[in-house]
């Protein structure tokens, strides 16, 4: 299917476990982004990538790892999940200084 997809849509995990959230886009957009959305904080940028093998830290990168071996995929890994990482995670993509297209989100709960 065309567009930007995220998986899983819902995830419950335990403190200390590793979790990977997947993001896939079919437009061959250069830029991809990971955000987290929390009540009171709005949407905050975790990491972004300008192209395959190029990634940069955003506003709140601590505790997260990203990779971009292929243009269309941008997985986000929580190496040792903490309760403070309970959030809704959004992936987005864009071709340049244009609108970003957002995925449907992944709701992550860390117990």
């Amino acid at each position: 299917d065309a567009g930007i997809t995220q998986s899983p849509r819902y995830k419950i995990t335990e403190t200390g476990r590793q979790v990977t959230l997947m993001c896939h886009q079919t437009w061959s957009h250069s830029y991809m982004f990971w955000y987290r959305q929390d009540l009171g904080h709005g949407l905050r940028l975790i990491y972004y990538s300008a192209a395959a093998d190029i990634t940069d830290k955003g506003e709140v990168p601590d505790g997260y790892v990203v990779s971009r071996s292929k243009t269309e995929n941008f997985p986000l890994t929580l190496e040792s999940a903490t309760r403070s990482q309970t959030s809704v995670y959004f992936c987005a993509s864009t071709q340049g200084a244009n609108e970003q297209f957002f995925g449907p989100g992944t709701r992550l709960t860390v117990l």
Binding site: G42, T94, Q100
Partner: protein
Amino acid sequence: SQELEQSPQSLIVQEGKNLTINCTSSKTLYGLYWYKQKYGEGLIFLMMLQKGGEEKSHEKITAKLDEKKQQSSLHITASQPSHAGIYLCGADRDNNNDMRFGAGTRLTVKP
């Protein structure tokens, strides 16, 4: 603290009424984006403003960026229940897609 301040945090209006949401930055913005989010869903792009004094309209929604490129407003004319949702402003900090978002304004439109 948010780099982008949105006001009000929430807004309840009667159907048919006009309303305005504001977004203010302490820094000059390279690009200002308005998005709408329905509860539990991803963000939908509304408009992008780049030039000081720029104004764009789509259907009943008008967005403006002031001459100094530090403040934007989103105005909805004759609101409808379909306008309900969370409105977020976002800005490119350094013209390199390092995005920051406001905390959002939750709009409720009463029929």
